[in-house]
Symmetry: C2
Subunit: 321 residues, 2 copies
């Protein structure tokens, strides 16, 4: 038994599930493992570190026996970065946070499908006009960068807008129930990030993964402080959801003060980050945190989610009397 949707059909894959291209965390091993498990695995190219991309894309290209993809932060992307990624022959290209239009033709010309993540209806309209072949409706619950609209109503509204274009749900989805709920809303599948952060294959140290499974989503915050500390000039409207720590307690809500001392704080931040000090360094994580209770091999995460989603769908009709 499998769940069949327009998304599984488009990529000829088994499961309506995509592992998010978490910058630097979703490396080649995780992407290949998720794809080989029957979902669509993604390498998280983030801000476009060339050496990292070449190494990780090489791993996925060698190890994946099923369709896989790569993602970049759109406002940081260049045609050169996109070309580099395309040379590894991904099946899908994930663009998020910015106008996808400059890259859509470049990607499509290589027979690669364009997946555009959007955070509101205005963004969905733009992505459709630019030629997106899959939309991801990303709610504010998502870990890492995102915006303000909530997943549940955003997904339904983007589905209404998208016509025949498949829509995936992202943000706060971390288990089979969440995938099933997304399908009920009309989505063709779901994107999960934080759930795969807590996988054996994710490129993060044990301490970060342990914090993921120990922390409640009550203790995350959408904030700009880590972008300021890292010197990333994100466009207006985007913030990153992270686990609260000493750094957010100190600076969140005092962004102007932080910017005034940014050089000094940046050096301190870099030292703490290099030392793996998570009282300062960020762990980007979404509101699915409460539903994530163990670190597992990605293969088992995929099979568990799909099994639970099927069961949730059946339990839904069992309520009808």
């Amino acid at each position: 038994m499998t769940i069949h949707t327009r998304f599984t059909e488009l990529f000829k894959i088994k499961h309506p599930l995509l592992s998010a291209p978490m910058g630097g965390v979703a490396g080649g091993k995780l992407a290949a493992t998720v794809s080989n498990a029957g979902a669509l695995g993604f390498v998280g190219g983030g801000y476009g570190d060339i050496a990292w991309l070449e190494r990780e894309l090489g791993i996925t290209a060698r190890e994946a026996r099923q369709p896989w993809g790569v993602g970049l932060i759109t406002w940081k992307a260049t045609r050169e970065m996109v070309d580099l990624c395309l040379r590894f022959k991904p099946h899908a290209f994930f663009l998020s946070f910015g106008d996808p239009e400059p890259y859509v033709d470049q990607i499509k010309s290589q027979g690669v499908k364009v997946v555009c993540q959007v955070q509101d209806l205005a963004g969905a309209r733009k992505a459709l006009a630019a030629g997106a072949e899959v939309l991801v409706a990303q709610g504010s619950e998502a870990g890492g960068h995102g915006a303000t609209r909530g997943t549940l109503p955003l997904v339904a509204a983007v589905v209404d807008l998208a016509g025949d274009t498949p829509v995936l749900a992202a943000g706060g989805i971390a288990d089979g129930r969440g995938l099933a709920a997304a399908l009920i809303l009309g989505a063709a599948g779901a994107v999960m990030g934080t759930r795969f952060y807590a996988s054996d294959e994710a490129q993060a140290d044990r301490q970060a993964k342990e914090r993921i499974i120990q922390t409640s989503a009550d203790d995350t915050v959408r904030t700009r402080v880590f972008d300021i500390a890292r010197g990333y000039d994100w466009p207006e409207g985007y913030t990153g959801r992270a686990i609260r720590n000493r750094f957010t307690e100190r600076w969140h809500g005092r962004e102007d003060e932080l910017m005034a001392v940014a050089n000094e704080e940046r050096a301190k931040f870099q030292r703490a980050a290099a030392a793996g000090d998570y009282d300062t360094k960020m762990i980007f994580a979404g509101e699915g945190l409460d539903l994530i209770r163990d670190i597992q091999p990605a293969v088992r995460i995929v099979s568990g989610i799909v099994r639970d989603a099927e069961q949730s769908l059946r339990a839904g009709t069992a309520l009808l009397r």
Copy 2:
């Protein structure tokens, strides 16, 4: 065919749907109509205007032939207000925004069920400890007052916490898909506010209802500015989601400035509100806005939602191959 859950069983009602106690908007007529349609209708007692409560509760008590309820803002409630409401023999009492503990025994001693709305896991734990008989997990997408966590992951996490206590989902749910998705997440039903705001029976003028059906959820904001303008001293952590207008454009993000001129602005605000000037006066509305396209009689809203929810649940299992 009906949808059977622990919530419908607890109240011996037909549909797993509750109309939110929107302060001043959910009057006696709306509550009675929703209840007579087979859902659980609520009068929105808000800040506790005694004359309004006596009139509206009198209407519901006379007209409702099925279970109905009343809601108060917990931090504004008093034992006297609660007693006044209980004299009208409601079947359920909805407490939100604050510690329910001081009122739980008072309410239960009259055989009335206590429904506690919570905005995070910490609040859910407190409400369960206080003796809540139904929990409402309210996401940030909700119209009017609320907090920061998103509906979809919050509902799943509160369901895991609540054991045998039924959980309803609130925030951004405005149609049958949303109700069905809530059930799939393990909720025993859903709470809808904004959808019933755009009903014939809601106590709001035509212009406000028209703005509800014309506005996209991209154009709402969680803000304190209307509370400051009205002189309500809401506890830390709560904001009200409203349709953006000239007043939010001017003051949102400048709350300290607004407080500095609060007396003057309050008088202007009151004049504008009295004149029905919605460029200044607030319309509280949730992120379900995109899914609300018409003003309907409440009876038709209930039947349409339930029919669509049943269809969504069946469509879910049809994806299994």
